[in-house]
Subunit: 412 residues, 2 copies
Amino acid sequence: MAYLNDNYLKLQAGYLFPEIARRVHEYCEANPDAAKRLIRCGIGDVTEPLPAAAIAAMHKAVDELSVRETFRGYGHEQGYEFLRSKIAEFDYRKRGVEIADDEIFLSDGSKCDCGHVLDILGDQNKIAITDPVYPVYVDTNVMAGHTGEAKANGRYEGIVYLPCNAENDFVPQPPQEHVDLVYLCFPNNPTGAVASRAQLVRWIDYAHKHDAILLYDAAYEGYISDPEIPHSIFEIPGAHDCAIEFRSFSKTGGFTGVRCGFTVMPKSLLARTDDGRSLQLHPLWHRRWSTKANGVSYPVQRGAEALYSAEGQAQVRALIEHYMGNARILGDAAKRAGLGVFGGVNAPYVWVRTPDGLTSWQMFDRMLRDLNVVITPGSGFGSEGEGYIRISAFNSRANADEVARRLQTLNR
Amino acid sequence: MAYLNDNYLKLQAGYLFPEIARRVHEYCEANPDAAKRLIRCGIGDVTEPLPAAAIAAMHKAVDELSVRETFRGYGHEQGYEFLRSKIAEFDYRKRGVEIADDEIFLSDGSKCDCGHVLDILGDQNKIAITDPVYPVYVDTNVMAGHTGEAKANGRYEGIVYLPCNAENDFVPQPPQEHVDLVYLCFPNNPTGAVASRAQLVRWIDYAHKHDAILLYDAAYEGYISDPEIPHSIFEIPGAHDCAIEFRSFSKTGGFTGVRCGFTVMPKSLLARTDDGRSLQLHPLWHRRWSTKANGVSYPVQRGAEALYSAEGQAQVRALIEHYMGNARILGDAAKRAGLGVFGGVNAPYVWVRTPDGLTSWQMFDRMLRDLNVVITPGSGFGSEGEGYIRISAFNSRANADEVARRLQTLNR
């Protein structure tokens, strides 16, 4: 009989969002009236319509496909030049960061990229992950066989965990020990924390000292309002030879259902072969895309391109201001309710300490039952998330206002 | 320094299509007049506009995304029910094949799926691949470390190659030796061969005897006109516990630039753990998609759904008839030119024996130089493809007619 990949069997069964869905479903079945007033601030999914510029561009692209003369079949596996050049120009070179067009690789989302990047990296690498963390980084490493079994606290053998908590403002220091790959995500999901330039410089110094690679997830960079906070790891000198960056149009252009993201793979980034040679990763990443993909849907790429037009940029700014307005309303309301509040200033997530020594899931149940509001239990993101909840700012203004009102009635 | 995946270094540098592009470019630079009459019958990319039903559905879906009330963010990672149910009904149940909706997994293309399926399979599996073959099956196994180094003839150590040639009508018999995974593609790219029911029964028997899994690529099933030829491996009794099928909208709906395909992963398919237990692959595949993807673009899924409407089905049939009309014209012309012709009857590829003992690349150069026609050298698909060329029927009728005319002037 053919063999399956045994590593999948190490994955813990209770994946976060299905378990939330199960509890919400059970509660709503038993309480149909309460179900009608349910407001979801759980999953980090956008709620507002696509920017008009993207809509117009996608319509135009679809029309092009309806006519032989303008029809397009297979595009470049790494993405069309029209979009790669816009990204490199607007997101990097206009901000003073040197990135070449062909260092941009388009994909159908940064979640996918975070997993796929392991394709080109060796199984020998020692991996560090923050705690709490976006579960995809952990699970894709489990699947790839880079860990041992899960322990009772949910952590996997073989991974170096970097605790993020109130003591370090949810930004970890580099570890004392050696690791080869470090996943960093700023603005952070789930804590909403951001890393300062000085903190990122320490990580780049660590990477240089240890010949490590930083896997930098900047999917939420559009939410940064503080001008002192870097949007890209490549704003830090020396990052071009020790970092890969992941970006997404999901939370800027509202593309969670449209699907487009990208990686920045600098040509100056080297990695080591088994026999000790140092080689560029860029050609491996290029080959990975040529062999395993056929590029992002053409109308989607045109939609993403339109986000860089003058109208598109203004519309993206308006979307982000809308969600960040929600974040302020929710964060202020949680403070007024006497809760410990973090994040929510340069990120669309408000990270809240549970009151009265409640566990994350106890607080989840209380908010579901008493407020009819769905949040995400912090413990679902890692053991250091225990005692916290994540409130997502992705919602209508009316819903954010209503959640803020209900928070004042929280039974303490 | 972080380690790279050394297996990538085993990949042979001269990937087929870039080498074709290089030779065509060089020739056109040197011969600008000839360049103007160049006709491309190389890469298997569609040329005709998208079906009107898909265009209308994609416009409608884009409009839905422009309004808050109908906006959709993240969809199911495995695809929307509206499309999975249409596929299961029209492509399977209406043809008498029992497949459940949730055995269909949507993706952005079957090329991607052919690579991703290795995620859930063990590295211990012994793999068999036909020769000639779609290079993706081989290269993704090289990348995953399932092979040794490439040999002088381009074959990799550790893979069992199944020769397909005129002697076996380009359909291999099961091997004498044991293998765990077998890649089969019918209608075949590149040879255009189809497998009869009796031939597929022999493969299912082999799979049962050896507890092997057939990875069945049916991306070209829409081109089958012979009613005796199976469209799906699941038409063969017993296939549900030993096969995975890959399908695509690329060559039916002309979705090469729109991007949508799917796998059929039966729940009755089991594979073996390292310690000898037999487990379903379905939950692993489901978990793979939940963790590493966020589903196919919503407008794309609506476009694919529209291909199952009455108008959509008629439009797809018209597209296929157009391309198969080209295949007949090209195949007949090659025969009239005195060449040995295979395929092109139930598949959009005409597989032609080179005359005068020419190698595939010599014939490529002759056709480029003398006819200004680009084809694909058969040797690019494997050592058994040496002495053949592949002519693609994906073209306008005018171009197919012109290539047919030029073939009569072939210098022999």
